[in-house]
Subunit: 110 residues, 2 copies
DNA sequence: ATTATTTATCGTAATATTGCGATATAGTTT
DNA sequence: AAACTATATCGCAATATTACGATAAATAAT
């Protein structure tokens, strides 16, 4: 018990869930916001930008990276992080399709 | 410890996180998929559609509802659930803006 | 070589999530 | 009213997440 029953759902459903889950924390939304704002590989800054301890941020970065929402490259003694368009694109496509389908079907409802 | 430090983030970051978190489970993605597919208020069916026990599904429905992704209306002794366009729309807008900004800025990166 | 800087990992406490059996609630049917 | 149907809630066990201090690892600067 306590474990998500991934095996019962489709590949796509699991993929969307993993991506959405990675964004399911305000610190991680804030990290994406920041990476987008500065528009580049960011080496270092992130820890100073957020009101969380360094190990905590490192952990959040790892989760975003594992989910495919950011990329990280070693650059000297720092690590450069930036947005991974692929992950973000998948989510954008998903919601776009959902909303389009809703509009087409008119969502006659309650 | 263990609690998310919501108070340190913006209203919008928290809102996106709450919506994304609600979709951060394949069962909940599957529920949205199903509601979209049948394109109506669904009274009853959901439990038969998913490989999870009734109390578990009830819990997932509650989370989707709390996050603002679905609506539920009492209809006789059943409850009709359907997609709430507002929540889905917010996520769609968020990802659209993110991707647009990325394109404009060209995302020069690693 | 020593020191400083940057990021990751370990360990751990607090809390949250997932899943479900048992049971409650509320409306429907007979 | 009794039985049935649909959904919610309670309580609990298993597991996952969040946060951070301490510490490690790896490169840079002195």
């Amino acid at each position: 018990m306590g474990t998500t029953k991934k095996e019962h759902f489709t590949e796509r459903q699991n993929e969307i869930a993993i991506l959405a889950k990675a964004l399911g924390h305000p610190a991680r939304v804030a990290i994406l916001d920041y990476l987008l704002k500065v528009n580049a590989c960011i080496c270092g800054d992130i820890v100073n930008e957020l009101p969380l301890a360094q190990p905590t941020i490192s952990q959040h970065l790892k989760e975003l990276k594992n989910a495919g929402l950011i990329k990280g490259n070693v650059e000297g003694n720092a690590i450069c992080y930036c947005i991974d368009e692929k992950g973000l694109g998948k989510l954008k496509d998903y919601f776009e399709i959902m909303m389009n389908t809703l509009e087409i079907k008119k969502n006659e409802c309650c």
